[in-house]
């Protein structure tokens, strides 16, 4: 190994060790209540993760936010007040789910409305198709029998044989 390569490796090792000592957000939430509240908040670094789950190295947001959360919980503040405090500081974006009031509550209704509309369509289709089937049966019962040709008879015999075979194969 050349001396320049050795030097490069030593430098890299130093940088690596130094980086390991870079302060990170590592202050764990002190209580279960703080943990539970943390799941209702997002990390504001832009990672799109829940506050208590953001573990991005060198994240500038989650550490201070977790400390802030712990401080609120230690003071014994009510959950709603703590959440409200975060909303005032960071905006509604800090909430991990849309609020259930106002315009943003629409997000909660969309799946339910989609289900209701879809269910309505499915039920309407089933009813419509059932009516068609009833109409078909009525027409079939009043229609004259289809004349049998040699080919269709052969096909019928083969199909009937196949049905019986399938019945035997799948019977209990």
């Amino acid at each position: 190994m050349t001396s320049s390569r050795k030097l490069a490796l030593i430098c890299a090792a130093c940088v690596g060790i130094a980086s390991a000592l870079v302060p990170l957000h590592v202050d764990a939430q002190k209580t279960d209540r703080a943990k539970a509240l943390g799941t209702k908040l997002m990390c504001m670094c832009g990672c799109g993760q829940i506050l208590t789950q953001c573990n991005h190295l060198n994240c500038p947001s989650s550490g201070p936010m977790l400390k802030e959360l712990d401080a609120h919980v230690t003071k014994g503040e009510a959950d709603d007040l703590i959440i409200q405090d975060f909303v005032q500081e960071y905006g509604e974006k800090v909430l991990s789910a849309p609020p259930t009031k106002g315009f943003n509550s629409i997000a909660w209704y969309i799946p339910g409305v989609a289900f209701a509309i879809g269910l309505g369509i499915v039920i309407a289709l089933i009813r419509l198709w059932r009516q068609r089937d009833v109409a078909r049966l009525a027409t079939a019962s009043s229609a004259p029998p289809v004349p049998h040709t040699a080919a269709s008879e052969l096909r019928d015999v083969q199909l009937e044989r196949a049905r019986k075979q399938a019945d035997r194969d799948t019977e209990d």
Binding site: L9, A13, G16, I17, S19, A20, V22, P23, L24, V26, D27, A28, T39, K40, M42, C47, G48, Q49, I50, Q53, N55, L57, G91, E92, K93, V94, L95, S96, A97, P98, F103, N104, I106, A107, W108, I110, P111, A114, F115, G118, I121, V122, L125, I126, W129, R130, R132, D133, R136, L154, Q158, L159, R161, A162, Q165, A166, D169, T170, E171, D172
Partner: protein, 692 residues
Amino acid sequence: MDLFGSYALLLAFAFALYAIFGGIAAIITRRPLLIKSARNAGFAVCVLIWIGTLSLWYLFYTDNYSMAYVAAHSNRSLSPYYKFSALWSGQEGSLLFWSFLLSIYVFSALFTYRGKHPELMPYVGVVLAGVQIFFLTMNNFIASPFQVFVGSGAGGILHLATRADGSGLNPLLQYPEMAIHPPTLYSGYTGFTIPFAFALAALLGRYPGEKWIHLTRRWTMIAWAFQSAGILLGAHWAYAVLGWGGYWGWDPVENASLMPWLTGTAFLHSVIMQEKRGMMRVWNVWLVFLTFMLCILGTSLTRSGAVNSVHAFAESNIGHWFWGFLLLIVLVCLAAYFKNRDYLRSDNQLDSMLSRESSFLFNNLILLVACVAVLAGTLFPVLSEAVRGSKISVGPPFFNRVNIPIAMFLLFLTGVGPLLAWRKTSVESLKKNFGFPLIGGVVVAVIAVALGLREFYVTLCLLLSAFVTLTILSEFYRGARVISARTGSNLFSSASQLTMRNTRRYGGYVVHFGMVLVFIGISGQAFNQDKQMDMSAGSVMNLGPYNLHLQNYDSTQEPNYSAERATIDVEKDGRSVMMLYPTRRFYPSNQESGTMVAIASTLREDLYVVYAGTNPDTNLPVIHAYLNPLVKWIWLGGAVVVLGTILALLPNRQAVMVLSSATAGASAPVPGGTQPAQISYSARSQLPDRHD
């Protein structure tokens, strides 16, 4: 080589233009020579894209740092393995890789059906070339991976510049799975282009009957299998690399991959209705269209920066192109539909509410509602910003609350659907088929509650999982017993014969079982535990039944990074059971850090340990440990899903025999019909009132 690759892509673009316009001319004039030349142009496009992609790989392996893309995503000390995966680590390369995978599908489809289906294939060729044109436009003119560094010399004369070394690959991507996950997922995304092209071509060309469905069934299943595997590999990568203890965060990019999977799954089910009963023609065509549109939407979300995501590429104006392409697809699909919708008319009839047909309708409803829920959650922040001027976050609490009930309903239908007969199921049959599995499910739930389980959805999931598993087992058992009685072979051998006689049906059951395993694995999330501690050598952390003794820290030096490693002795019941080595890496080339999580995985639980950093207050290293139950079941379930899909792709053994006998019998017809056994299995698919 940069010029070589660049020219290859440019030439591919020119050939793709010819494939489109020549193809349209061929459709209008019906001249065989023109049809053939348009198809050959399609082949040429694919080969040229391969050449372009291979050129870029060559540039990576030869450390050509005059290329901006290579310099931004590689460096000399990067291992050859990651130089391979570096190709798709950035915006430009990943778009080329998309074209590359698409070209493999296009080439395969054009080659497989060369000289066949003369009424359909020219349309297919035009649609496929249209999609390729878009991506080649990106590769050539918008996001070329072959851009070079240019320096300014004396007198302002520009010259090619080069760098001594590259910036290196993003540490998060320096993980073995990153060489597998993106190609797998992209193969899913691009694979859905084939059924889309056939559906649109059949509609444009008014191709008669259900033929396009038969032609694309296997292509759709292959794309679906890749999409499934890609999603799960992505989840596994997130679990093993990101170090947050989870595998699915409802990130927009994750959601983008899930949406086409949901509609693709709906299509794979509803298409059976069209095959068996000629029903839902309009619906199936639109499901394929929708699946492809969602693939493009997903890609645009990943690349446009419209939504925040840890997985997204850097924000760029490339998104406008994707939105434009998406709009064009919607317009073309709508125009084709309104012009030829009478061709899709079918006489849908339903004998009974209690039928396989109804279960498919509900299956489609639930999958589509799940897709709408995911789409709404993903795009709602954008909508909110447009309406109110401020973005909101839609995170896991929303998605979990909305999707868990949907998933439970879907699991229920997974068990119910296969046991319902086509046309009509009698109440007696219901009792006979459902009695045992339902009792089994309830017994499992009661035992779980008796053992202290109090989580409603977890209990319900266990009940339904047992129910579905028992319905699947009873289906195998019933069929195998009949074969066993006839042939005298044991039940396992009979089950194997049964499966090979109808691979699609029984492969489908295996896929369902895989999904059950995935659901069970996900349900374990309700019992996750975690603990975080500042730990010096000799300190102990208790987590569940484990004691984690931190023995020491050491550092190592590798060519591409330096690493800090903790050595942890894990004890259970007072005995040392394993050693774990959570590690943090630092990559000097791009000044970034990454974690290497230590995971001890069993079927019961994962002990997941992260070297999280250093506490600034105590200056001590911090260890974050998680105990995640049942996670391994998810990966196991994913493997079963893929195996089941492969099984369903195999040809039926009996069908092969029939075909060969039929060919032999063509020259010497058998009086009075044919051999009974051959007829029985070939004709079974025509029987409308049997299961399949």
